[in-house]
């Protein structure tokens, strides 16, 4: 098992490496180069732009830039091979060990491997701090959506399979088709019209907390308020969560309930289910022990593959509902061409996706005895 985990982790290293290249390519490919944003800003002088370039190492050749951004090259070493490539010496930190090691072990402090994503062009704040701050609301939204998504999809899918061709199954089929065809952002807009529009107006349509009740989420004042009235605060967030979570899960539930139904029907038609019946086992044991256990194996892989959609879905949902998370941060950064933030967010979300797939694969190996590792 340990061997399998090591091999599987090793397999994801080239993928992670590839992701850093793609992310860095976005910076390079940006129209007019990374300083284009300043070109339209009359308050920024030419000297300001040169200084920005210098601070970001943008005056260096691309391989050196990338290597420093990654954190594998020492920014204090200026020598180059053929004028563009970093020298072997550049990979060694000032403490004489490889630069990419954690700084506690004598490695460097620069670059994304050391958690240094740079500084936001827009606000001047460190990117890592902005992302960490935005991560909590997204984790709350995505986490709850994930639980609701899996639970509801399982119930619908399994029940539709067991009661095949029943009214419930047919209703689930219609829901799956329509839900799957529905654009998430449009569903969000319509829900806001219905539940927060002039008609009903019973649920909050934007933000994470009610502004007149509490300080903005995430600030120190908020946590003081939270400590003082935790139940009230949680109920408030809960009310704000209803519409975004609903918006976020509908597409996933629509797709997965179909998938689970198909997987369950497949399992129910297997010979071992007939054997289980022939042994005299009651129907619920046959369904929920023998069939479901097998039906869940492909579902598990599928869920791992769908984690990216949870993130893109969160971007969509957060924009519609002004949820102060990663999605909103992304949209704002895109509007303002704030490259450091965009690169940081892209990198972090991709890494989360790679790890989610990794965990799904390892879990699969644990629950399916047929996998050899």
């Amino acid at each position: 098992m340990t061997k399998y985990v090591i091999r599987r982790v090793a397999q994801s290293i080239p993928v992670l490496f590839g992701i850093t290249i793609v992310v860095y390519a976005i910076l390079l490919a940006a129209p007019g180069g990374p300083t284009a944003k300043f070109a339209n800003n009359p308050r920024v002088t030419l000297e300001d732009r040169e200084q920005f370039k210098k601070a970001w190492g943008l005056d260096q050749p691309i391989p050196v830039q990338y290597c420093r951004w990654l954190g594998a090259c020492n920014p204090d070493v200026d020598d180059k091979i053929l004028g563009i490539f970093p020298t072997p010496g550049a990979f060694i930190s000032s403490h004489g060990v490889p630069q990419f090691l954690p700084s506690a072990l004598g490695g460097g402090t620069n670059g994304v491997v050391h958690g240094d994503f740079g500084v936001s062009i827009d606000s001047g704040e460190p990117v890592a701090g902005r992302i960490t701050r935005a991560a909590l609301p997204t984790l709350i939204l995505a986490g709850i959506a994930f639980v609701v998504w899996i639970a509801v999809a399982l119930v619908i899918g399994v029940y539709a399979a067991v009661r095949r061709y029943s009214a419930f199954d047919q209703a689930a089929t219609v829901f799956a088709y329509v839900g799957y065809a529905m654009p998430t952002f449009w569903l969000g807009i319509m829900l806001i019209f219905i539940f927060s529009g002039p008609g009903l107006n019973i649920l909050p349509a934007s933000g994470m907390t009610t502004t007149r009740l509490s300080p903005p989420f995430g600030s120190d004042a908020y946590w003081t308020y939270f400590g003082a009235r935790p139940i009230e605060a949680i109920i408030d967030i809960g009310r704000h969560l209803i519409l975004p979570v609903f918006t976020l899960v509908v597409v996933n539930i629509a797709g997965d309930s179909r998938f689970i139904r198909a997987s369950m029907l497949e399992a129910l038609s297997q010979d071992y289910v007939r054997t289980a019946k022939a042994k005299g086992l009651p129907g619920r044991v046959v369904t929920f022990k023998h069939a479901l256990r097998n039906a869940l194996l492909p579902v598990l892989t599928n869920i791992g593959l769908e984690i990216p959609f949870l993130f893109t879905g969160a971007i969509v949902t957060e924009t519609i509902f002004s949820w102060p998370g990663i999605g909103k941060l992304t949209i704002d950064a895109t509007r303002q061409f704030d490259y450091p933030i965009l690169m940081g967010v892209l990198l972090v979300t991709s890494i989360v996706v790679v790890f989610a797939n990794l965990i799904a694969d390892i879990t699969y190996a644990l629950v399916d005895p047929r996998i050899k590792y």
Partner: protein, 321 residues
Amino acid sequence: MTEQLRAATTEPASQEVERRADEAGPVDYEVQLESLNQWQLAWRKFRKHHLALIGLGILLVFVVVAIVGPIVSPFVFNEIPKPDKLVGAGRPPSLAHPFGETGGLQRDVLQLVINGARTSLLIGFSSMAIGVIIGTIVGSISGYVGGFVDNVLMRIVDVMLSLPLLFVILVASQFFGNGNVILIIIIFGVFSWMGIARLVRSLFLSIREREFVEAAKAVGVRDRRIIFRHILPNAFSPIVVSASLIVAGNIIGEAFVSFLGFGVNPIYPTWGNILSNALTFIPQGNWWWPLFPGLAIIMTVLAVNFIGDGLRDALDPRSRA
């Protein structure tokens, strides 16, 4: 009887039994198989798939609307319908304006939806075509050449599938799109090929081992001919099915990107960008504004998905209905 039975214990509409009946023929108990070519057979099965036929009908209507609509009711961005008497809230559906009028500029929603159909469908289908072409080429190379090339290409696919794609498309549209329809099509196409590439590669790997390809190789058929005559035709049906999913996904994706203002310039209406300001009119209860473009998207995507389902059943050579 065992296979008949297995089918019967699980599947009320037992195909095995049907097939047996087919083969036995009606009168003289002898084997009778109608010989139809692949396409006749596929069309016969597709016709029996009611949802797919409905989907095809809906899609044809939308295509006609997309082609003819803008001629009948052209949209001119600079033309503001009633510049002298702006009504903040827009107007609900009426006989003159069956889909209502937007808040703010009082544009006719029906006209917007009709004109949006052209751009949205164009983007959905053209970007799919780009994705399918790239994916088929990459997948064929990967599956047929194998080895190191295969490894590199598949790692690239892995990397791209690990990225939150909508996010990447969003950023790419903002950076390079300039609101231009062609560029948006290219951006969506460039990020739509990975699934097809994996699919084509896996088909190559499985088909390459099958007897008929080995037979072709054994009699000295050239590689290119093997790929085009023997392997790709077999890969056709799964490609068509996933292509339908790409069309649906890209229509929705484009709508979202344009809704946020990163996609197509509002001079060319799409089902997404005409919604850009809809949210600000919520307090006025302007529901008809987002409703109809959204319904257009849902119906198109449903139609495409139904057609995809129908094609999957029709092109599956193992089913014979």
